[in-house]
Amino acid sequence: MTTTSDPTTGRTGAGSATIIEVSHVTKSFVSPDGTPLPVLDDISLDLREGEIVALLGRSGSGKSTLLRCIAGLISPTEGDISYRGETLNGANPGVAMVFQSFALLPWLTVQQNVELGLEALGVGTGERRQRAERAIDAIGLDGFESAYPKELSGGMRQRVGFARALVVEPDALLMDEPFSALDVLTAQNLRAELLRLWREKDFPTKAMLIVTHNIEEAVILADRIFVLGANPGRIRTEIDCTFPQPRDRHDESFQALVDEIYGLMTGRDTRPPAHIWTVASPGEGSPTDTPLPQASVGGMSGLLEILVAHGGKVDLPQLAHELTFEVDDLLPLVDAAQVLGLAVVDDADLQITDEGRIFVAADILESKQIFALEARERAPLVRAICRALGATKDGNLGEGFFLDLLRRGFSEEEARQQLKIAVDWGRYGELFDFDANTGQLTLDHHHGSDGQ
């Protein structure tokens, strides 16, 4: 640890040196028809000595893109990223990275994988072996030196990932969802190990930056949390997290902070162009500014049933915990229920609406009708498709028509994803059908057209 930090909390004193500075970074990719699609929008943050910083966001918030910019793997479209005052123009020399998928070389043993970074630095054989062994011991991998990654469990593989990163004694450690491919208990265990190392006096790494979509993980680890908003990614809030380490997740103030962040991530966005799903009034929103959440109808129905079983109101963090879900799994379902007006989110509480109650109580045919009605009115893309098909003579249109429209607001992949969700919803509600061979969408005349 550095001299400026407080060993009990890991918090930095004010004025400690900045390691990485991100200023006004914008990143956009270019869509197939040439329009730029912003992924990151005017992001500024810094990483100082002695702190752990979390970038917390849902999928689509560009958090991994931001981390790769900081690592010097990709260049921002605008803005600057500097390491110790030097603007990056290539892989960041002062950091090491831990990957979500581990990124180990399967043909090298644990020892060889850990030695890789040292080899690249040109460290001699003897010293290389010693340092690698020390790192392997520190992360609790001793005995596995000659194993190949494919022989190890996920948790052990990620330990190799950490050993490989820490052995080069990076100034800052970058982590891209390092625990999200692991099961809950293994993740918890490895997080604790990491914090134990971090608190050791001679730990050479001076700061850590973690990207995560897991709210509790961010609150357990971080001294500062940047909550990112989506479409395009931007910093919505910066939260100081001052609880002393080790943190107790059952502590009341801890829970309160988690709740607050849940509210932030599900609730109404303060920025005018609403990219966050709120209860849409019928007829409101357009397919590009209100994308459909990535949820299946079955999943959303399941959520509503659980909600009714809980008496119609439930605390989201608690529910997620109960179901051992993470935000990325649970929130799209919540969004879908909100879009359709079947439930509402208030702070971190999910509450069922009257329509929602009827929907859950109904039999399969009735619930399909309710779904069809709500989807046609409230889900902008579904509505747009129904109207467009209704306006044609034979109720037939190619998918290309809708994809072209969607490409104005989404990347190619996202546009296809959006259409896929809409087709899934449309089929479930028997609003329209889709022929995968011809790429034609066809109106279902019983339900699809307005007032027929």
């Binding site: 990709i74 260049s75 998928s101 990124a103 043909w107 690249a120 022989e151």
Partner: protein
């Protein structure tokens, strides 16, 4: 254990040195022909010479693959040129290279047999290198992003990146394609050992010691026994290299598999186990480690496997302009030279008749594909659906596919002569002898990968025979069948050059077709005709691939992938 392995290695080294010495004997084309004896005592020597030729070509193909593939995948501008060139090279019938290579290498080494030797090696190389290079290039560009990021993040040098990441991650595909290339190479080996060399317009029949020339001599004698010996030895060579070299290589390369879990059925090899249990690996480690360290040091000045995030746009544009001007200029120059040459030597009015020849051969290719499909799809499905049969049949079919069908041509020719079958039809059979196995091989692979639950479903739903075929089996093997069909068609086009003009003893049979045209042109040393024929054949291959196979491929990928 060590004794066996050690003795094997010493014997191998001795043989290579001795054979290497005899490659460069003096010889003047047309005056001191190399006499190929058909004495059975000489057969091992001929077999060894052929084998050495094959492995030298394979080594060259590997080096070419690593260099060309890396350049195509890592250099932004080069990729745009190198990949199309490779695509063109791939569609050129390989035997067109032979007379050109002969002329070139004999001029390079006048009075030495090395010229013939190198020409043969070059032809085998052209039959092996392209698919290996494509495989390597594809592995490189489809490398997992996170491994690429890790390599850059951990600041590997260019050499470390190549040696620790690029080569290992492509290893499985590379080894597999080496094995396939080796199989295909036997065909061209036998075709390139007995050749006609042109000096000042006069053709001289020349031979390199080897199994191909042994066969040619046997055919010239009209000796049934000698032809049979040649075939048996060839089978032994194909099976032997598979067992001693490629099985172990495939089993070894399994450690480079990307999937993070162990594969259920690992390829095994007795030879590899033998080697692993000997002290060879330890010894090899002792030798290679200092070499590795030295290479690491030497290549360090070449810098990191990194590129700057920001580049000067103006500088890049200027670079682009210079690069493309050079490329366009060079292409145009070559095109003009080529056209002038063709115009002077044969004129463009010849092309329509050439296309007519092409259609004749094309018809043969179509017929043989249809016949092979009708025969081998049911058989392949039968074999593939039974795991036990598949295990035994797969290696046998692989040997059949590798076996140079040319060696069977004399028998077939004999039959055609006796029964009075014109080669116009007979050539279809000859071309099919080699090509059909690719269809069988792939159909077996496709059928054996039909998931078990689908098979159980067919039974439990009581699908009728025709329902099973229409609804489950045919769609499931479709992607594999398409792969087999492309390979078989390519093989058939290549084979047409040797199949549409055959001889036995004093008889010669001709078939109307582009293959016959090319074979005649190369027998008479008429380069312009040869090149024109090659161009038309390549055009046929490319057009059919684009219009037919590629579409099937896309359909297979989008609809019938299990």
């Amino acid at each position: 254990m060590d004794l066996v392995v050690g003795a094997g290695i010493i014997a191998l080294l001795y043989a290579v040195v001795r054979l290497g010495q005899s490659m460069a004997v003096n010889f003047t084309p047309g005056r001191t022909p190399v006499i190929i004896s058909t004495d059975i005592a000489d057969v091992p020597y001929y077999a060894a010479r052929s084998l050495l030729r094959m492995f030298i070509a394979l080594a060259l193909s590997t080096v070419f693959t690593l260099v060309y593939g890396t350049a195509a995948a890592r250099l932004r501008r080069a990729e745009k040129v190198l990949v199309p060139i490779l695509d063109i090279l791939q569609s050129i019938p390989i035997l067109v290279f032979l007379p050109i290579a002969l002329t070139f290498f004999i001029t390079l080494f006048p009075n030495n047999l090395l010229g013939l030797e190198l020409a043969a090696i070059f032809v085998i190389f052209t039959s092996q290198a392209w698919n290996m290079t494509f495989s390597f290039y594809h592995s490189l560009i489809s490398q997992p992003t996170e491994l690429d990021e890790a390599a850059r993040m951990y600041r590997l040098t260019k050499w470390q990146r190549f040696w620790k990441l690029d080569v290992p991650s492509s290893m499985i595909g590379l080894v597999w394609n080496m094995m396939m290339s080796m199989g295909g190479g036997w065909f061209f080996l036998t075709a390139s050992e007995a050749v006609t060399v042109f000096i000042k317009g006069h053709g001289h029949s020349e031979s390199l010691p080897g199994m191909g020339s042994y066969m040619a001599a046997a055919v010239a004698h009209g000796s049934f026994t000698e032809v049979t010996i040649a075939i048996v030895v060839m089978v032994l060579l194909v099976v032997g290299t598979n067992f001693l070299v490629f099985r172990p290589l495939v089993a070894w390369s399994d450690k480079f598999r990307m999937e993070s879990s162990e594969s259920a059925e690992k390829p095994k090899s007795i030879i590899l186990n033998l080697l692993r249990r000997s002290s060879i690996p330890r010894l090899a480690g002792h030798v290679s480690r200092p070499v590795g360290r030295a290479l690491d040091r030497i290549t360090r000045p070449f810098g990191l496997a990194e590129y700057p995030l920001r580049t000067d746009v103006r500088k890049r544009h200027i670079g682009d302009i210079i690069f493309w001007s050079v490329i366009v200029g060079a292409t145009a120059t070559f095109a003009v030279i080529g056209l002038v040459y063709l115009n002077a030597h044969l004129g463009f009015t010849r092309f329509p008749s050439l296309i007519g020849f092409g259609f004749a051969t094309f018809a043969r290719v179509v017929v043989l594909l249809v016949i092979s499909t009708i025969i081998w799809v049911p058989v392949g499905v039968k074999i593939g659906m039974s795991p036990k049969l598949a295990r035994y049949a797969q290696p046998i079919v692989q040997v059949l596919a590798s076996f140079p069908a040319i060696l069977l041509f004399p028998f077939a020719t004999l039959i055609f002569i006796n029964l009075g079958i014109p080669l116009d039809y007979g050539a279809i059979v000859l071309m099919m002898l080699g090509a059909q196995w690719y269809i069988l091989f792939n159909v077996i692979a496709g059928a054996s990968s039909i998931p078990n639950d689908l098979r159980e479903m067919m039974v439990s739903m009581r699908l009728t025979r025709s329902q099973r075929w229409r609804k489950v089996i045919l769609p499931a093997i479709f992607p594999a069948y398409v792969t087999g069909g492309i390979t078989a068609a390519g093989g058939a086009w290549n084979a047409s050059i040797v199949a549409e003009l055959v001889s036995w003893h004093h008889h010669t049979l001709n078939a109307f077709g582009l293959g016959n045209y090319i074979a005649t042109a190369s027998a008479q040393g008429k380069f312009a005709l040869l090149i024109a024929g090659g161009i038309v054949m390549s055009a046929f291959v490319v057009v059919v691939n684009r219009l037919f196979w590629r579409r099937l491929y896309r359909m297979a990928e989008s609809r019938f992938t299990l």
